[in-house]
């Protein structure tokens, strides 16, 4: 059976349109460049000098080329959207084509996105900074891309056509849209984006990969932030020797080659000596310190409230902390004291290493950002007002300074998830990441690399996924920055 076409039944109609729109775009671009060189300028705004101050913009040829470019892009996007929509309503795979079928598989994601956007835009005026994001087109595009992958991760089970490690040996290196010979009734009859060199479905691995990436990257970034903030606040606020020492250590970590650090962390001798475990012991205690200090400084004037809050934080914190660092089941682990009954979860050794190294590499940068912002904000009068009414230094740092540093921190958080995602990819690419079978995008790209010249499709799908996610995070950060500056 022939593999299905890319565009299905709509192809003959829409494909020429797409080609035409691309041609128009480049033609218009060239013409515009020539006209600008020739000294023509876009039309300027003219204000009618009457009472109403109406505005009119006389159009010059440059404006017309700009318009042509704009509409070409719109037509192109409209065609893609049409393919997806048509895919949802056609039932036969050959009619849908690869693009239509992929669009149809993502149906739960589309629905979730439509609901999120409708609700958010409807209530954007009461949603604070998040709501204002919907005033910025760039922020909206970024949010769309990010949420697309978040929903894909959530609905991975519904979207994927096969399991991430299901192997069908006849499908090795098959092209996108290839049908599975003699497929069972009820199974999905084709590999939408082809098969890789072991005969696994590229599309399903990409979808499941989203889940892997989005489980690790934001959590690791969050930890890096907690550590950076917990160290950066006092360094900036108190200054002096302590600041000098911490900054020096941060610079040391920043100066150390990242890849070498990763290699060191996975060297068997170092793993056996338990270095990652000990490092995790140190790194993961910071969030607990953070929350204890946060609530203590705020509620120390109200003893009962403080006692309750601290008890909650300490109990849950300790439970998570010890579950995290101690692993009874792993005979190699040096930390095995925590009783099995209380051990809620274990983290596989490999994952722990990835986590530790990502946190270790990212926190010095966060530290520097926080320290810089604190140096600025601590000169404000409301900080002085806090000091003159006898507030403790930690209250001032966590409740007076930190909330006002949130703008740059949120933006950096988005960017940093992007870096971490790439870092995970890099780690996977070096074979340092999570387990080798994992659908993680980085590892998948690495596997596909070997046969890249003959079969380019297996690494292309996860690479595009990684690109769109990071692009989305960057655009989201841009949008947030732009909107948080207005006010």
């Amino acid at each position: 059976m022939d593999p299905m076409s890319w565009t299905g039944t709509l192809g003959p109609i829409l494909n020429p349109l797409i080609v035409a729109s691309i041609a128009v775009f480049f033609l218009a671009f060239l013409t515009q460049a020539v006209m600008i060189f020739a000294g023509m300028r876009p039309g300027e705004v003219v204000i009618t000098p009457d009472q109403n101050h109406g505005i009119s913009i006389p159009r010059s040829p440059v404006d017309y080329t700009l318009m042509a470019m704009k509409y070409a892009i719109l037509v192109f996007l409209a065609c893609i959207v049409l393919f997806f929509i048509a895919g949802v309503f056609q039932s036969d795979l050959t009619d849908q084509g690869v693009v239509g079928a992929v669009g149809a598989r993502f149906l739960p994601v589309w629905i979730a996105l439509i609901i999120t956007f409708t609700v958010s835009i409807r209530f954007k005026r009461v949603l604070g900074l998040y709501g204002k994001l919907f005033d910025s087109p760039i922020g909206m595009v970024g949010f769309f891309l990010v949420m697309f992958w978040v929903f894909t991760a959530i609905f991975a089970g519904l979207v994927a056509t096969h399991g991430p490690i299901d192997v069908i040996s006849q499908m090795r290196n098959e092209v996108p849209g290839a049908f599975i010979p003699n497929s069972n009734e009820g199974d999905f009859p084709a590999y939408l984006l082809g098969g890789d060199n072991l005969g696994r479905d590229v599309f399903s691995r990409m979808v499941h990969g989203a889940r892997e990436v989005l489980q690790i990257a934001p959590a690791a970034t969050l930890f890096a932030f907690m550590i950076g903030i917990t160290l950066g606040l006092p360094a900036g606020y108190f200054g002096g020797k302590m600041d000098t020492v911490i900054t020096f250590i941060a610079n040391l970590v920043l100066a150390f080659p990242v890849i070498l650090l990763f290699y060191l962390l996975v060297t068997p001798e170092i793993v056996l000596a338990g270095v990652p475990q000990y490092m995790s012991m140190v790194l993961f205690i910071f969030p607990i310190i953070f929350f204890v200090v946060l609530f203590n400084s705020r509620y120390h004037t109200q003893p009962t409230k403080r006692a309750i809050l601290l008890a909650v934080v300490l109990v849950t914190g300790a439970l998570c902390y010890f579950s995290l660092i101690s692993d009874r089941g792993d005979s190699d682990s040096p930390l095995r004291f925590w009783p099995e009954v209380l051990d809620i979860f274990d983290i596989p050794g490999n994952l722990l290493i990835v986590f530790v190294s990502v946190v270790f590499v990212n926190s010095p940068t966060v530290f520097r950002i926080v320290r810089g912002i604190v140096l600025d904000i601590k000169t404000r009068d409301y900080v002085a007002a806090g000091q003159t009414r006898g507030e403790g230094p930690w209250y001032i740092m966590l409740w007076e300074i930190l909330p006002n540093a949130r703008g740059p921190l949120i933006v950096d958080f988005c960017l940093r998830i992007g870096y971490t995602t790439i870092l995970l990819g890099t780690l996977g690419f070096f074979g340092l990441g999570v387990d080798p079978e994992s659908a993680n995008w980085g590892s998948t790209i690495n596997e596909g690399r070997r046969l890249l010249t003959i079969y380019p499709h297996p690494p292309l799908a996860p690479a595009l996924a990684l690109m769109t996610l990071v692009l989305g995070l960057n655009l989201l950060a841009d949008g947030l920055r732009e909107e948080s500056l207005k006010d």
Binding site: V45, I47, P49, H53, I55, G240, K241, T244, T301, Q302, R380, D381, Y382, A384, A385, Q387, T388, R389, G390, E391, G392, E400, P403, N404, R406, D487
Partner: protein
Amino acid sequence: MANREPHDGPILEIDNLSISFFTRMREIPAVMDFSCTVQPGEAMGLVGESGCGKSTVALGVMRDLGVNGRIVGGSITFRGRNLNAMTDEVLRELRGSEIAMIYQEPMASLNPAMKVGKQLMEVPMIHEKISAREAFERALEVVTDVRLPDPKRMLDSFPHQLSGGQQQRIVIAMALMANPSLLILDEPTTALDVTVEAAVVELVKDLGKKYGTSMLFISHNLGLVLETCDRICVMYSGEAVETGSIKDVFNKMRHPYTQALFRSIPLPGADKNARPLIAIPGNFPLPHERPPGCNFGPRCDYFKTGLCDAQDIPMAAIKGHDRHSSRCLRFTEIDWLAPRALPSGKAKGSVGNPVLKVDNLKKYYEVAANSMFGGGDTKVVKANETLSFEAHEAETLAIVGESGCGKSTLAKVLMGLETATDGQVFLDNRNIEATRIEDRDTSTVSSIQMVFQNPFDTLNPSMTVGRQIIRALEIFRYGNSEAERRSRMLELLDLVKLPRAFADRMPRQLSGGQKQRVGIARAFAGGARIVVADEPVSALDVSVQAAVTDLLMEIQRNEKTTLLFISHDLSIVRYLSDRVMVMYLGHVVELGDTDQVFSPPYHPYTEALLSAVPIADTSVEKQHIVLEGDIPSAMNPPPGCPFQTRCRWKSEVPENLCETRIPPMRRLADGHEIKCHLADDILMRMAPVIKISAELHNSLSVRRQVRSRAT
């Protein structure tokens, strides 16, 4: 200089100018129907509160309105040429050579990476294409003209090596390099100290005469405009409301806003008890929420429904005055000579026992050259030297001085943010000078509180107003439950006359004056007995200043609070303080009752300070005393008397005493002390700095009688 075709008409003619800013949502009109004319050699003052559009006019003249700003109507004619129609190329030629602009912040106008000389030379080299040598000669000449010492060295230094006053002089020199026909000054002295400001203003005036330059002087300070300008234009909410010669507008004003403005600033003769200031009620309208008809209508005493809100109001000329016009429909009906309705004079609060006593307080800082290893030279900064004073219950003690005089350090020591190096501070006979704020008990902390200067900084922008006051109550251990604290917080809002609904607002939704009120409420949360107010009104607009000052006075009367009022503005100090302490470079140079300090004999520094403060009253005659140079650095104070480097009386003291020995504190009269070597007979010879014409003098003496009766 550039070859310019001769021109005899007015230098600048602005005719019905309207400027709007366009946002995604709407058009925001910033300036509406603005007209003014500047004749050659004339200085035009543009006065108004922040947001009234005066800077927009200046930028409009420069045609530098940014992406969103557009001229939507009217015309700007400069030396007979229409500025509206000029292309960017022609404008570039014009800016900096024929029209020059001086901005508020000198450091922001200078390139920090370029030597001063080079920046100055650039101007004629670009505009007139002259050689570097010629340009250097010209730079040297102009720098000498702006009276900077050692011009060669100045040209060879970077901007950060100069003091604020010197920087501003360099900026002025740069503007003069091309010998412009029009100089636009946008609040050129706001960032400077008073005595430095006085010198710069004097300079600008002289240079205007020497070079024959026309000036457009933008300021919020009426006194400054009186000293520098020939004509004035008062703006309110995007419109010019009154324009005319200084004399007409100051003495025969014909617009209710101008009148209200003058009534809200502390002129000599105002008194907090007998003749309090009258604040303008209400708030400044936002640009997109202007009322129909007269913009000032809702705040005007003479408002008439159906007339003032029915139509757009044009400028109308006033007969018999020289080019004097007003944007008011009723100015012919209003009786401008009617005495103002005085709010009932309030009884003066009686001053109680001493609450705070400071004895020989010293605060030195050690500044190390290297922070990590602590090595290198250590320098000692003497921020406070032997301060001694007392403050009584229900008294206002003003602490006056310019930047670097040690008033903020004094506040820090009182608050416990720093500990004293030597000496004693008593609060109710308890020593507190060595106890840091962490070690003070709650009642001590809550009884000394502070009100801060900058209203935009005093509240945490990410916490509601109510929450911030409640936090202060929490930390002062007030009440046992959240509900109790909340009700107290609402009472505090009542105390500072803010609506209770403000409790749930964020600080960004409040105006400057409202924020400052919240700051005051927060300071009084723990029942403060001593409030250190660090320039609490200097960042506010004049009309709001009066209201906030009044509020402070009223709370003081009711709560019997001791107010330590830190300020550099002598007008407001004279208005509200009972006693005044003048500080210079860490020393108290004069201490006494308000009347004693404001009349001779003075300390030479007080004398200069009094002369430097601009007073917006044409009937006041001031002696002109301009101090040479800048305030010395506290790192490297002069030997002997701290003021000797700038003192004009130094030659009167024999044996070089001023340069060798720090003068002792001398008692001149009961409660009046000065730190000066001058002999008694010389002190007695001093003439009053401020002379007031007869009519005002009478009211002053009445006031003195009232005061003596009260005590």
